[in-house]
């Protein structure tokens, strides 16, 4: 799977949203291009590396976005509204899947590793692989705030709004998530030595 450097995203302002609400396909394409990698990343990490599932749920999210964008009234930030949709879709899909397959066995993250043998030369990417694997093992409650913080770059307030809980709860879950990563990957400490 290709990893992409975080680039500046086009500004999605109220004009783009309004154009989407009017059914302007170009505006929607802009919206899609802006958020596709972020939505897909959250989905991949939520489904333990299962790209097919992530692709499917990403499509569902964008479909729902297109059909429901008329209901967006600007009461909250657009990103908050979008990420709430993403989080709910991922959680719903996980629930459905859990009925059939234990979540952690759904798709090993090693699939990602297998696809990028040439990149393994780089220690930094190996760290990234280890982090991905450790993220997979977090409970969804701890995983989602980490993803929203580090993949989406949301503030604690925004994460709290998206997840429907308090800022304090998010701070606590991030604390536990960070501790869990550090304990699992303590052997990588030297990768960050100055």
């Amino acid at each position: 799977m290709e990893q992409r450097a975080v680039m500046a995203e086009p500004v999605i302002d109220e004009h783009v949203i309004e154009a989407c609400q009017r059914g302007d396909r170009e505006a929607f394409r802009l919206l899609f291009e802006t958020y596709k990698d972020k939505v897909f990343s959250i989905a991949v990490y939520s489904f333990g590396g299962d790209e097919a599932a992530a692709s499917d749920v990403s499509q569902q999210i964008f479909l729902k976005l297109m059909t429901a964008i008329g209901q967006f009234r600007g009461d909250s930030a657009f990103t908050t509204w979008l990420y709430r949709m993403v989080v709910n879709a991922c959680i719903d899909e996980q629930r459905k899947r859990r009925r059939f397959i234990p979540f952690l066995e759904s798709m090993p993250m090693s699939k990602i590793e297998d696809r990028r043998p040439q990149e393994k030369r780089y220690a930094r990417l190996e760290v990234a692989d280890s982090v991905q694997a450790a993220i997979k093992e977090l409970t969804p409650k701890l995983r989602m705030p980490i993803l929203l913080k580090y993949v989406e770059g949301l503030s604690y307030e925004e994460i709290a709004t998206v997840m429907g809980c308090s800022k304090g709860t998010i701070a606590s879950r991030l604390n536990r998530g960070h501790q869990s990563l550090a304990r699992k990957l303590g052997h990588l400490r030297n990768e960050f030595v100055d």
Binding site: P10, T67, I146, H178, A182
Partner: protein, 397 residues
């Protein structure tokens, strides 16, 4: 004062998600509380690890698949036209697609330009004298130094940089610095040449300065650092501790001490500035001089040993790592005469560079290095200054 532990707030602290006052209280607590500091190191590692989490690229097929599903869902029989946006597929002819792609490219390019100019993290800079430059522009009274940008002063200009919320750095004339990184877990400046004075009130190892011959890591302190045109540098510590490092060569420099560095060598051996001139001259030769054949008593090491006082065990302790064989024995014997090792530290262990023993002894020796209450006292001194400044008291002290 230090009763309330802050472990639950450490992630929020790392992400600057706590109010300024609370942030100061947490920083103060971290300096004093080893338990919370250990937790802070763990959280900081967790943050650094999570920062490695890459954003993945959605497959190119996603849009095509979405289009197919859209086409299916927007069939008249399956859609309630009043509730669904009116997407017209007539737009999807090559001409419209081309225009659309062009618009997207323009938007992305525009946003990138905006990002590169405005969205990079930055530090606030204030002009103190003359006309410092940021990049190619002369700065006014205030300016912003973004990540990757150079701040340069000429012979008559000076500037002051606010290092996030953790301290400040004064830039002297004829100095060139660049902001390398600023984020909650690391602030890093490059000093290419010239002189800077730093006052940092934050937990250890958040502020770093890269020079051509070593990296200075702040351990809660105030110091000056100067780099000459050859890339050699000289560090003077006025409060707390600074660590200088190049690869596996390290020097721990406490308040009142100095340390020189050289390109290709790294940090020399730290010494107290009130040591004798002979001591300092001999140490300089020992660190960076050419090896010359001289009578035994005139060897730089012999001079350093002969001139050393109890306080100079700072220098001798570092020399244990840097000399070998008989020379290491000489250093040990002088140290033992000046400040006998604690009972669990043996001559044989020290000569074999047993790390545990060396650090145990160092803990005892620090009492004679003028940092009796260690990091905490030094840091509080700076911190008090910072609070005074925040309260407008600096000039009244």
């Amino acid at each position: 004062m230090f009763s309330k532990h802050v472990t639950k707030k450490l992630s929020a602290y790392c992400h600057s998600e706590v109010a300024a006052d609370e942030s100061r209280q947490i920083a103060e607590h971290l300096i004093a509380c080893s338990r919370c500091r250990a937790q802070f190191e763990e959280i900081k590692l967790g943050v650094k690890l999570a920062e490695c989490l890459p954003q993945l690229a959605a497959p190119d097929s996603l849009w095509l698949d979405l289009q197919s599903r859209l086409a299916e869902e927007t069939k008249p029989s399956r859609i309630e036209s009043r509730q669904r946006p009116r997407f017209s597929f007539k737009l999807w002819n090559p001409a419209f697609a081309g225009v659309g792609a062009g618009l997207i490219l323009v938007a992305v390019f525009g946003a990138w330009l905006l990002y590169s100019r405005e969205s990079r993290p930055f530090w606030e800079v204030a002009r103190l004298n003359g006309s410092p430059r940021i990049g190619s522009s002369r700065m006014n009274e205030k300016g912003r130094l973004a990540v990757g940008e150079w701040l340069e002063t000429d012979g008559s200009s000076r500037a002051k940089i606010e290092v996030g919320s953790i301290g400040n750095v004064e830039i002297d004339p004829n100095t060139r610095v660049r902001l390398i990184e600023t984020k909650p877990t690391e602030h890093r400046l490059e000093l290419a040449r010239g002189k800077m004075s730093a006052r940092i009130w934050a937990p250890p190892r958040l502020f770093f300065v890269d020079t051509p011959s070593a990296v200075a890591a702040d351990l809660g302190c105030a110091y000056t650092l100067e780099v000459d045109d050859s890339g050699a540098s000289l560090l003077h510590v006025t409060s707390g501790w600074v660590e200088l490092q190049l690869k596996d060569r390290e020097s721990m420099v406490p308040a009142g001490a100095a340390c020189a560095t050289r390109p290709g060598v790294g940090p020399g051996t730290p010494y107290f500035e009130d040591a004798s001139a002979n001591f300092r001259e001999a140490l300089h030769k020992l660190d960076f001089g050419e090896v010359v054949d001289v009578p035994d008593l005139q060897r730089p090491l012999q001079v350093v040993i002969a001139e050393s006082r109890p306080r100079d065990t700072l220098t001798l302790w570092h020399l244990l790592y840097r000399v070998e064989g008989k020379d290491r024995e000489l250093v040990f014997d002088r140290m033992a005469a000046l400040s006998p090792p604690p009972k669990d530290v043996t001559r044989a262990g020290v000569l074999q560079l047993d790390d545990k023993m060396l650090h145990l002894w160092k803990g005892y020796l620090e009492n004679s290095w003028g940092n009796q209450s260690g990091l905490k006292k030094a840091w509080l001194k700076i911190w008090t200054g910072a609070l005074g400044k925040a309260n407008g008291l600096e000039g009244k002290r």
